[in-house]
Amino acid sequence: MTYFIDLLIVGLSIGMVYALIAIGISLIYSGLDIVHFAHGEIYMVGAFIGLVLFNTVGLPYPLAILGSMILTGLLGVFIERVFYRRLTARGGGYTVAGLGMIISGFGMSIVLQNAAYLIWGAKPLPFLVRFGMPVEIGSIALPASYLWIVVAALFLMTVLHLFLTRTPLGLAVRAVAHNKEIASLMGINVPLMISVIFGIACALGAAAGVLIGPINYVSVLMGTAILIKAFAAAVIGGFGNLPGAILGGLIVGITESLGAGYLSGSYKDIYPFILMIAVLMFRPAGLFGTIAKMKA
């Protein structure tokens, strides 16, 4: 039983990390009408920036998370403005420009990987944070690092939720995600709001990276595998749907962890995709339904 609960906790916390990235992918999809294939590298760069803030600058861990979110968010805004805007301005989705965006996303992920390689080298770096003793609940001892991930991720999701539902700016983000023309007729500066959306998505990816750092190493290639899992999470929940992204992330994390624990650890990356295929067979729009996007 404790073995099961251990696996569940590991799955839950890794699932939270997937969820944070999947939320970013979904936000970008609903706001910009593109699937951002460099989001795994945003997560990787965020982890490195967090590591630098923690080790070199000497910030406490929570501030390293926050600092990395801000810096990576700004990096995201820069990338969107300078490299993606020309393409997305001509339409995303199924347009020719939308196809170009997919290729640009892959290109950007190679650029970011190589930049990180030049700056931080190929060797995985440890992210040593002292979290203190495991937290004991009944007979179960929870490693504090896992607890940290769950609490911090829940906190960020709550803040995002309050932002989207309670603030005028959050309403504007949702308006832009639904219909850019009508949003602009509300007096919303749509290009600016697109930068905001992209920045928030990148900040969440960075938080995921800094959160997973202490239980993994930080390495140049860490973004590659996680992108497809976050992608699976988004698909399972319903692409572009934020609660769906969270649920999908948790499902992927827990499936992977239980699969590795009870079946075979060497196939652990496969289980979420088997699940994804199953979900798509029975509910093609994901569990929560996809935001229908019709773009000429």
């Binding site: 219909n179 602009s184 509300m186």
Partner: protein, 247 residues
Amino acid sequence: MLRVENATGGYGSVQILNGANLSVERGQIATLLGGNGTGKSTLLKIISGLMKPWSGTITFDGQRIDGMRSDSIVRLGLVQVTQGKEAFPGMTVEENLRLGAFVRHDRAVVARGLERAFEYFPILKTKRRQLAATLSGGQLQMLCIARGLMSEPKMMLLDEPSAALAPQVVLDIFRIISRICRDGMTLLMVEQNVRMALLLASYGYVIKDGVIKIEGPADALMKDVNVKLSYLGGTVAEQEKQLNLNH
């Protein structure tokens, strides 16, 4: 208040507007009539900044607005309510209204706007916490008009407020539009319901092939309505039917 001079524009390489001219005075209700696909919505989109004109000038309240982004035009006090009742379905009625006041950061203005919206459209008050997706066509149109009023604009562009609505609802909506204008709004309204539009407006324009073919005071156009209707394309019979319904 609004002046459009020699506006041309279109989609891709297809030209729709071939030099349209019109002007609306402060406090005036003007209507823009014309058959299907003659460029009425295109002209409104060019005024509101959703599309850039290819040439020509547009001035609003003494300022050149052609080529401006639509959100800047909203900030100047010119708001468009588009054809097709496009509310944000995943948001509540109140959230939709609040979005209409996005450019106003003063809480008092937003509160006053909500109150006024609920006064014009009491049904919206009872549905204020419901998702816009649950509203009927007429209620959606009301929501869109109310949302347009939330920023307290100086002028509104209304695109076919009566389209695809039951006759009784059309009457309700026209009654409220007329009240809004009595309260001081300047209005340019596109309509297919020629008779209702001319009853409400003081000045009318008829567009065909991308240019204004006829213009004049509404009562003069009304007297001549049967002749002028021929300019409205193949919709004469339809219009007649609607006239009977409205009596």
